[in-house]
Amino acid sequence: MKNHISNTAALSFSLLSGLIFGIGLILAGMANPAKVLAFLDVSGWWDPSLGLVMAGAIGIGLIAFAIAKRRRHSYLGFSIQLPTNRVIDKRLVLGSMAFGVGWGLAGICPAPAFVLLGAGSGKGFIFVVAMVIGMGIYELLEHHRKPAGK
């Protein structure tokens, strides 16, 4: 079976998934950083809308991943690759906590950042560039942490 998803059908479904994901973010209001911050501002004028975004997404996701867990291969014949790591460690918790701080400062998380970029937002562009540099810094730190070739 195919482990590499690289043919035309796979690329088309990737593009379609990204497109539907992005349209969902716009419709949901998640592409508007002010609305995201209003959701995080529980002690001010709280806008609970994004809780319903999570509810809607997880409602569909629960069904999809229940099906995916029972299958070894996707409908296109690729192996289904679900994360196997089950370790709850400092990297997970501190990394998530740091992400939350950045999210709370700008109201932008990685997926909406690309929607903002596509919408031609200069501020979205700045965020995406900084985010990619941040990911590059992670790669450098990790490269130094582990011996080469490991």
Binding site: S14, F21, L27, S43, W45, A57, G100, Y138
Partner: protein, 144 residues
């Protein structure tokens, strides 16, 4: 806690969430992968030849979403009040944090919770908590 009923948009939020869930469903059921933006983008830092196309295709899909939207309706308001310096700092922190956490709102918050992964539930609680705390400190303590 005071609910801002004027800006509360339950139906578009729910419908948008259903689309996000549908996109994640299509991605895992057809391509066999998690629709986590951190993982999709992070994989491009150590590119394997047959692995680049689908990652770029997904990100391209996200980027053309506003253009597709514009074919039918004007885009909803996008309000970014943060200064460029603050956005750059926030972007850096998000980039480093999400990679250490191996996921963000999409990978952990949507796909991970949907898989009932304890790691993702912890991650989501952690970034929600510090997100709320950060906004609290910025708005109500520092008054930014």
């Amino acid at each position: 806690m005071l609910i801002d009923w004027n800006h509360f948009t339950p139906w578009t939020a729910l419908a948008g969430g259903v689309l996000i869930g549908t996109a994640s469903a299509i991605f895992v059921l057809f391509n066999g992968r998690i629709a986590g933006i951190t993982g999709i983008l992070g994989g491009l830092f150590k590119p394997r030849r047959r692995d680049i196309g689908w990652r770029l295709a997904f990100i391209t899909g996200l980027m053309i979403a506003p253009l597709a939207w514009l074919l039918f309706a004007p885009l909803p308001a996008i309000e970014i009040n943060a200064s460029n310096a603050l956005l750059a700092a926030a972007g850096l922190i998000v980039g480093i944090g999400t990679r250490y956490a191996s996921g963000c709102t999409s990978g952990h918050g949507v796909c991970g919770i949907s898989r009932l992964s304890p790691r993702s539930i912890i991650a989501t609680l952690a970034f929600m908590a510090t997100g709320v705390l950060t906004v609290y400190v910025a708005r109500h303590v520092l008054g930014v």
